[in-house]
Symmetry: C2
Subunit: 233 residues, 2 copies
DNA sequence: CGGCCAATTAAGTATGACGTTTTCGTCACG
DNA sequence: CGTGACGAAAACGTCATACTTAATTGGCCG
């Protein structure tokens, strides 16, 4: 098993979390502690700790004399990295991918503008480096290598913005980009226009041109949205 | 006491969470379970469950033979509503307020643009209603009533965008707006220009003019940023 | 000096007993 | 027949304890 190395409660979590976020237990469903205890063949301690975590994600609510009830979707902590991961792995992956892409299209341009103002020389260097990397790997079925540079590029922009809320979306963007590559047919090279835009963004950040960095990044995210409209429901 | 009604673990959480997010325990600090057990005079069960929740927020990491260690700030789940609340209540409230305002300025304009495309007639009606309410309460030291309409307005825009990630930021925006009112001297009425902008946004959303809704909202959030520069460090 | 093994430490798990709150059913009374 | 109060049951919440597991430390031996 690849399931070893973590505590039992983590294993229960990795089973219940995806199931709930996938909608296997519709909102209002009640789970009794001792039922789960038996189902996973673990002690109450373990179940209780797993339930506490699910509760902290607002996926469930535990009430006396009633049980652990699944909460409606609108109340979930949809920004919790694990919730995002579970939903991306589950049934409504397309919808989730769309939500996150829209979020990207809102956040990244502003982040790029701020990065142009706050990025350190070292960050600027890394940025151009990865932009170059994208150019170098943009042709000839090197999608994996390209993805690495793409993810790194966007992560640096978010970090260099100097806003911690933006910086923490790095994983989200990485997940979206990775997801896109996986769904892309493996034989189509990246859009050359997008590659050029990344190079230009790196340049704009380096020269401190915030407005240009923002508008160029808006073009990138607009492209990502357009791709979605082609490939997703 | 006003502390009744919740479980013991919740009480421990409400004590440890704010302390950690306030920086009372610098990253790397280790907390032993039995020490906490004694300090709060509760059983191990309770401490363990509280620690699990803190762990799920990435505030701490629990490792065997070493203890519960506080994680560096960059790893915290800064989108967790409780973490946001604790930080807003704590020492670096100004920095947090600034981060959230920047996030707002990125998200709300895009949300308003989407709202113009997706808002239901009922939502449009509510929107104009609250915009009117803002006009009515914008003069004569009715800041509390004004705030209610302001919060409702922005909440509806985020919800009407149809993006669940945006919708879940309603509480964040509410916290920011509330925080601003509290810090505002209680005798200055809201900026008339901002009030007008809200009315115009409601109109743009109603008529489905996405570009206009977005750009007007951008003006609103730009105003909020400008206010910050005046009042905050 | 270096690597290996054992002792120690603190978290992880299991279990049984008891407390607490909420819900539901029953019974008596108007 | 309806209503209210009382009581029992159900499920989570808390406590105490014993045992297990993994990681670190330190000492012993090569």
């Amino acid at each position: 098993m690849e399931n070893e190395g973590k505590g039992l409660h983590a294993r229960v979590l990795e089973s219940l979390g995806p199931a709930i976020t996938a909608g296997d237990y519709p909102p209002g469903t009640v789970l009794r502690t001792d039922e789960l205890e038996e189902r996973f063949d673990v002690s109450r301690t373990v179940i209780r700790e797993a339930v506490r975590v699910l509760e902290s994600m607002q996926l469930v609510a535990s009430r006396r004399r009633v049980g652990v009830t699944v909460r409606p979707t609108e109340e979930w902590n949809v920004y919790d990295p694990r919730v995002i991961g579970w939903r991306l792995a589950g049934r409504d992956r397309p919808r989730q991918l769309r939500s996150l892409t829209v979020l990207r299209s809102a956040v990244e341009p502003v982040a790029a503008g701020l990065a142009a103002q706050h990025a350190t020389p070292a960050q600027c260097a890394e940025l151009t480096e990865h932009a170059m990397g994208m150019v170098a790997t943009s042709r000839g079925q090197q999608l994996d290598a390209y993805l690495v540079h793409d993810v790194a590029f966007h992560r640096i922009v978010l970090t260099a913005s100097g806003n911690e809320m933006f910086a923490r979306l790095g994983d989200v963007v990485a997940a979206v980009l990775t997801g896109r590559t996986q769904h892309h047919v493996m034989f189509t090279d990246p859009d050359p226009a997008a590659v050029t835009l990344h190079v230009q963004v790196a340049e704009a950040v380096r020269t401190g041109d915030a407005a240009r960095a923002e508008s160029l990044t808006r073009e990138i995210t607009a492209g990502a949205m357009a791709e979605l409209d082609v490939l997703a429901p």
